[in-house]
Amino acid sequence: MELIEKANQEALSRMLAADPVLIDVIPASEAIPNLKSHMILHAGPPVAWENMCGPMQGAIAGIAKFEGWADSLEDAFEKAAAGAFDFHPNHHFDAVGPMTGMTTISQPLMVVENRKFGNKAYCALNEGLGKVMRFGGNDDSVLERLAWLRDDFGPAFGKALRSGDGIPLKHLVARGLTMGDEMHQRNVACSGLILRELAPALARTSTDNEELAKILAFIGGNDQFFLNVAMAMGKAIMDPVRGIEGSSVVTAMCRNGTDFGIRVSGTGDQWFTAPVEMPEGLYFPGYTEADANPDMGDSTIVETIGLGGFAMGAAPAVAGFVGAGAASDAGNFTRTMSEITTGENPEWTIPAMDYLGVPTGIDIRMVLDTGLAPTINTGIAHKEPGVGQVGAGVVRAPMKCFEQALIAFAESVGVK
C-alpha cells in the first residue's frame, strides 16, 4: 500500500535525521517532574508486582530500601506486595533502563537530547559488572555503589557535560562500529571513546584529584559503561518516530522478565505483548541454564535503531561471547536482519561487510512475512533475587507480539 510505504520512508528518514547529544546528568525528579515518591519505573511493558520475576522483585526491594521507603529488604517485599509502590514502565516517562531498569526520584539520569526534533530521553548510569541492581542485586555493596553514583559520580559527570556543548553521539557510535562494538553486549570501544571526550572536562571541573581519579577509574574499568548512553540515545532517536499514520515500523521493543512488548508507529503507544523467551547463550563458571531468568530489559531499544544483534557483523567477538556461533557467522545475523528492515543507515556502517549500513527500521510486515524475528544480544540474570548476572546470550522477539500488532495495524489503515 502506498500509504504504508510513504509512512515507513518518513519513519526511516526521521531515524536517520536524528541528532542525539549527551548533554547532562541530573536527578530523576528534575528530569521527570511527574516522577514522585514511591513511584518505581521498571523495564519492559506494564507488569503487576505478583507477575514480576525474581530479579525484578529483588531490584524493587533494593531500590525501595535505597530511597528510604523501606527499612529492610524484607520490609520492602511486604510493602510492595501490599501495594505501597506505584509501578510504571520507563517508556511511559521518556526513559529506558537496562535489565530490571529501576528508575526512582533520587537517581541520577543521563540526558540525551535529539537536537533535530528537540525531544529528550533519559537513562540511569551503568553500575558496572558483577553484582548490580540491574541484574536484581540488592545487598549493601549494590546500594553503596548507587549512593556514590547519586552523591558523587552523577553530579561530577553532569557538571563536566554542562561545561561544554555536550557530546554528539552519532559519530561516536559510527567510530565504535568500526572498532568492533555493536552497542549491546560489546561497548568497550565506545566506553573508551566517551572517556576520551569526558576526561578533559572532568579534569577542568573537578576540585578533588582523588575523586577525579575514582571517577575516571570507574568509567575506564567498565566495558559496558556506554550501554546506558546508547539506550538513552536509542530512545531519543525513536520517540519522534511514534504516531506516524500508516507506518508499520517498530518504535520500541522491551521486556520485563515476564512479557516482551513492542510498539508500532502507526498504532501509537499501544503495547503488543507476549510471554518473554529464554536467551540461549553461555554461562559464567558455576552457573547453568537452570539458573537463568527469562529475557529482561529496555536495552532492546538499541536493536530497534539497528545496533545490538542487528549490528553483529561489526562485532565478531560478540558472537563468541553470547554463544551465537563462530566469528565468521556474525555477518549472517546482520544480513538476516536486513530482510526485516525498511532500509540501512549510511552513517553507521560495518567495514568488514563492505561498509554495509546497519539494518534500520523494523517493519512488522516483513517480520511476519519472512518468519524472521528480531535478534537480540542480551545479558542473562539469575532467576533468584539478589544474585546478579550469570551469562550472556541471544534471544528472539516473540512472533505473537508482531501478530497482534499486525491485526491492530491493519485496522488502523482500514484493512480487514
Binding site: M1, E5, S248, R365, L368, D369, G371, M399, I407
Partner: protein, 59 residues
Amino acid sequence: MDNNKTADLISKPLNVVNIGLEGFANELKQQDVSTIHVDWSPPAGGDPKIADLLSKLGT
C-alpha cells in the same frame, strides 16, 4: 514433465535446490548430492488470517 525428460533427469548427476525443511537438504548432502538449501517458511508461519492481512498490506 514427460517420461523422457524424467529419465534424463535421473540419469545425470543431480543439482538440487531444496526449499523449506533443511533435513531433506542434509540427507542429500550426506549422499554427496550437490545441494543448495533455501531457508524458507510460509508467510506468518502458515497462519491464514495473518497471511491474508499481509497480502492486503503488501511488503
